[in-house]
């Protein structure tokens, strides 16, 4: 059974610390080249491999990540 996931990032609240990036088992996320209203390079997804494990959301100091998951 496999899972397919999707994250939604509150980009205006993201501070671009990058702690989540190293903990993603599928290398789905990276810091953007663009910045948000506060000048931080916010988090974005770079591919479709997300499995909805929520590791990124669990280490996020600012709680900006919501995780959705479905079986497929």
């Amino acid at each position: 059974m496999a899972f397919k996931g999707q994250i939604v990032v509150d980009t205006e609240r993201c501070k671009g610390c990058g702690v989540c990036v190293q903990h993603c088992p599928k290398q789905v996320i990276a810091l953007s080249k663009n910045v948000n209203g506060k000048g931080y390079n916010y988090l974005e997804t770079v591919n479709e491999d997300c499995i909805g494990c929520a590791s990124c959301a669990i280490v996020c100091p600012d709680g900006v990540i919501s995780v959705y998951k479905v079986k497929c």
Binding site: C17, V19, G52, P61, G63, I65, S66, Y68
Partner: protein
Amino acid sequence: MANDIVKPENLVYSRTKVLTDATMHYCPGCGHGTTHRIVAEVIEELGIQGTTVGVAPVGCSVLAYNYFDVDFQEAAHGRAPALATAIKRLNPDLNVFTYQGDGDLAAIGTAETVHAANRGENITMVFVNNGIYGMTGGQMAPTTLVGMKSATTPYGRCVERNGYPLRITEMLATLPGTYYVTRQSVHTPAAVRKAKAAIKQAFLNQQNKKGLSFVEIVSNCNSGWKMTPVQANKWMEENMFPNYPIGDIKVDGKIAEGIDINRLVVDHPLSVVNK
């Protein structure tokens, strides 16, 4: 495909409602944010939002009352355990927790901390230890490691001049009044899960009227340590953890298995850091 997944019924994780919508003022990557979030998640899971009172300290987390959607009191510097004692004794049915940093709990508030623990007050204490005075600009704290550079120890902390790092968590574990004493961290998903379980246990102990529960969170201070958040977490693993070993120290009122409290308190093995 994206629209098929992002639906309310597929939501597995989102920011807890016990945190307010205010953006936290902490530096990017700071462990305070994660610790706030797991404390709030525990309050939500236990369903005690309406009966919880927090006590905020002075330090980086001085504005904690802005971020939790529960009742809060602001204590004088270091006096959070004394204020929590008063709240708990006047309203024994409330769930009272203090949230303090190392400058508040282990420096100016040592007396209140030690006496609250020795009296065995039925409260929960969350202690965030980052080995430095973060808010005032990175000065040496009692918990600063030997050899660690700070604004007031530019050549590294020296034992002859500055004394030894204070391991207050081990010290409190030796007191008969403490029921649960543990040290955790919040730098990886696994560590966050363990820390959350420890905080949940600390709140449950309070509900079961067991006595004082003390949870230390070893955290980073990337601004004070002059590192990126990712580097700071790595440095913390390499240098903070040997001096502040992670794990339960006292469980159910007894020193945990495999913990030699004499080794930790009396002999005080030091690992000197070079930064």
